[in-house]
């Protein structure tokens, strides 16, 4: 089972940087690390994906240490609209037949 572990919840204030860490101790060589964001009453949506070191896009950065047993999603200068549940999972980019298992996610609450 592709199990990940994240904090259940985090609180922050507008303008702060938020870092959410996920552990994935049994990640395999072929697995990529992916993060999703979910707002209430919506399906999750893709944020960022990486294999190692650092990946950055217009929304977030993803830091992955050399052993790849954890990853950290970094949200720069959060706003109220970043209040959501954030999920990490890892997946194998080898084609079909792969289960994609989500954990319980991290509920981020951003306040003024």
């Amino acid at each position: 089972l592709a199990k990940t572990t994240q904090p259940i919840s985090m609180d922050s204030y507008e303008g702060q940087e938020v870092n959410i860490t996920c552990s994935h101790n049994n990640i395999a060589t072929n697995d990529y690390i992916t993060w999703y964001q979910q707002f209430p009453s919506q399906g999750p949506r893709f944020i960022i994906q990486g294999y190692k070191t650092k990946v950055t896009n217009e929304v977030a950065s993803l830091f992955i240490p050399a052993d790849r047993k954890s990853s950290t999603l970094s949200l720069p200068r959060v706003s109220l609209s970043d209040t959501a549940v954030y999920y990490c999972l890892y997946l194998r980019l080898t084609g079909g037949g792969n289960k994609l298992t989500f954990g319980t996610g991290t509920q981020l609450k951003v306040e003024l």
Binding site: L1, Q42, G43, Y87, G96, G97, F102, G103, T104
Partner: protein, 113 residues
């Protein structure tokens, strides 16, 4: 943009009824998934399909079956609905290649009375 459409946003059914949840994607993806989401439990995988007529059990398949007769459509079936199947059901399809990602529908909130 990829579109994943779930046929109903809200459904109310009675215990023992047979329930069909439909999901359609418009990007010719081979892989499709059904999850259910419950408070405190996150998303749990029920079934997935990697090709037409091909399916595999997820983590919680009991009480469910699926059908994939056409590539674009993946149906979740509750043979005899029970109250513990009251939940939010989310369908997803997966793109492939370098930027592989899941695309989710808006979800179906099913209430079994």
């Amino acid at each position: 943009d990829v579109k994943v459409t779930q046929s109903s946003r809200y459904l109310v059914k009675r215990t023992g009824e047979k329930v069909f949840l439909e999901c359609v994607q418009d990007m010719d993806h081979e892989n499709m998934f059904w999850y259910r989401q419950d408070p405190g439990l996150g998303l749990r995988l029920i079934y997935f399909s990697y090709d037409v007529k091909m399916k595999e059990k997820g983590d919680i398949p009991e009480g469910y079956s699926v059908s994939r007769e056409k590539k674009e459509r993946f149906s979740l079936i509750l043979e005899s609905a029970s109250t513990n199947q009251t939940s939010m059901y989310l369908c997803a399809s997966r793109s492939e290649g370098e930027n592989e990602k899941l695309f989710f529908g808006s979800g179906t909130q099913l209430s079994v009375l």
